[in-house]
């Protein structure tokens, strides 16, 4: 069963705890956003924070363009992984990724990517806002639908007025 990370930019406030925990998990003793597989990009002036992380696409363009066949799918988790020994650091995959998900390790000089922490993603554990969820890939849309419904629900209840607003469930 494949699971993926589902991010909600509206819930993310940009504290970057996920970046920190990710880099520690991957390096052992170092906090360094450059070594994190998740990255929050910000537009401070507009109050925007977007977590950038691999979608583990069904048909990953990064894998198609890799000239050394360094990108492969993990048998257990379905994650799109990179074989560091085969990677030549050409960054072609980075160029074609539509989501800016891939990162470049400044020390090892290879592409690094989210490996879903072998099925127990640390970023999900530390997010205090539930902005990252680990969900079944084939049912991810339901989670998005639920949060969209909740927003609609608020509007519907408001429109109904105070009379029925008190009645829940």
């Amino acid at each position: 069963m494949q699971y993926i990370l589902l991010v909600d930019p509206e819930k993310c406030d940009g504290c970057r705890r996920c970046e920190m925990i990710c880099s520690l998990a991957k390096t052992g003793n170092e906090f360094n956003p450059m070594k994190a597989r998740i990255r929050i990009m910000k537009k401070e002036a507009m109050g925007i924070d977007v977590p950038m992380v691999c979608r583990h696409c069904e048909d990953p363009p990064c894998r198609k363009v890799c000239s050394t066949n360094a990108i492969y799918r993990d048998r257990k988790t379905g994650a799109t992984l990179i074989n560091e020994h085969l990677c030549i650091g050409c960054r072609e995959c980075m160029l074609v990724c539509p989501f800016g998900a891939l990162a470049f390790d400044p020390i090892k000089r290879v592409i690094i990517n989210c490996d879903l922490c072998q099925g127990k993603p640390k970023c999900v554990e530390v997010c205090l806002n539930d902005a990252i969820k680990y969900v079944r890939a084939d049912r991810a849309d339901l989670y998005k639908k639920v949060s969209a419904m909740e927003k609609e629900m608020d509007a519907i209840i408001k429109a109904r007025g105070t009379l029925v607003a008190g009645a829940t469930s």
């Binding site: 920190m20 925990i21 520690l24 170092e30 906090f31 360094n32 990009m41 910000k42 401070e44």
Partner: protein
Amino acid sequence: MIFMYGWAGTILRIKLDKQSIKKQLTPKDLCANFIGGRGFNSKILYDEVRPAIDPLGSENKLIFGTGPLVGTVAPCAGRWTVTAKSPITEAFGDANAGGHWGAELKWSGYDCIVFDGVANEPSYLLIDDEHVELRDARHIWGLDIWETDKAIKEEIGDPDIKIASIGQAGENLVSAACVVSDLTRGAGRCGIGAVMGSKKLKAVAIRGTKGVKIAKPEEFLKLCEETIELVRKDKWWWEHFRKWGTPIFVMLFQHLGMLPTRNWSEGTFEYAEDISGETLLRNYVFKKRSCFACIFHCSGAYLIRDGPYAGYMGEGVEYEATGGFGSKMGNRNLESTLVCKTLCDRYGLDLINTTDVIAWAMESYNKGILTEKDTDGLDLTWGNHENIIECVRRLAFREGHFGELLAMGSRKAAEKIGRGSEYYVMNMKGAQPGLVEPRGGKAWALSYATSTRGGCHLRGMPNLEYYWTPQDALKYLGSTKAVDRFAYEDKGRLVAWVENVRAIDDSLELCKYLFRGEPRVWVEMPTKLFNAATGLNYTENDILKCGERIYNVEKAFNTREGLNRSHDTLPERYFKESMPAGPSKGEVIPRDKFEEMLNDYYSSRGWDVKTGLPTKKKLEELGLKYISDELEKMNKLGKTEQ
């Protein structure tokens, strides 16, 4: 070996006049005795700045620093401190801010940046790991903070580079000027922005890729989780503060009768609901935002959608904006406080110092001391929000006679005007604290008077006075009276203790909103986090000793500048006028009771009770013999009690 972890290990030294850039290993004894951030900065400032220099002259230094926990996942450890001799208090000064700039400084491999001298032409500093460069800033001189941020990002070609800069207020050497990072995170207090302006330093832009290594990762993570669990035990705080941020304090202090209103003449505001956190959240905040590694995310991004102020946008709206431009000026128009907050961020003005001088001018105007002749025709009736906004603009640009007057800060402005306006200057040593009415909380009153950077709510921030249970107070402070907010007993002991703790918070660069009702979060958890990060093995007492040492160094700096017991006092109003209404009605600070608290404080600190000066015994006990020797030579050492 042990100093490889936590700290970055290098101090960057920039001589602006000679354009020289040097790197120095962070001395081990600095790490071991002064922790980081505020502690490092204070020690460097004491050692390298001579007494009686001009704060806006070339001999002053400007020091940026971060702590050993910054740049990690430690809860709320993302802050940074900037230190210099203050042009407002003409004594020790520093300012502290959040955002993401501090973490970036740490990742670039530096604990501190020390600026010396004055640049020949406007410059800005670019740090890209080892590559450090002073760059021409003539083309961005005159731009506001947000424009500067955009211009530097475009110039460097890095859309995510972290920038701390001054705006027009800092360039114009306005006493309320501050340094702002990440567009809205102001290192506000003490007029540090004016010092930066005097050095012709426009900005410090940083990109760091080196990360932070820590000694015991597994233990560290467990401690982080444990700290969060302890904080979350306070369910009310966790839910409400996370949702509303500091604007929640408007109603919280209204209910305590401690909401400073009309330049601190009252403690309740009849229109508090209008400027409350709830009103703000319901109508203006569209997204919550966070500083680095924060667990609360108290900042709100706001937009005014219609009306005369439609279109104003910004972030980081907080109590000092809604209360400072609101109740403190008798202003019930919440939108205008948001406009002021946006303008302050753009011009680079500290909310507290700005609202201090404007509220002083308004009260003087309403009492008939200032006339429209003095204010260049501005009507400063309480709550006249159009003119409050106009004041902010004139202050930043020193526009007209009135702009010049406001730019001096309330103390100097009142000295110039005279005519009894001095009575309405509500500050201590030249600076005003944040919005907590001291007559309604006696430890606050004492901590405002004893603060080492002029009147300040964060030097002591004795909120344990009403958050802690008497049982906890007995255990940690040896007194139950200490946490009765209307009592005077044992407040000296409480304030001395809490000032030491705050010195540690500022040196580890932890946010003070972490600390509330749960005593274990105050000292035990920071100590453990410090140990796990650095690999050292400090006890809680060792850490508290560091806090005390830092506080004594700052005190010695002020002593050297000529400050003594007579400066550790409050504005006359708090002694003379009792609170007119509300839950703190009738409260006043009787002068004799205040002096008793001060006596208790000095003896708790081991300083000379009569003069308020530090003693040889205490300084030597803290390993500061060289300071004791220097003060002795200057004849400024207190007498050790036998």
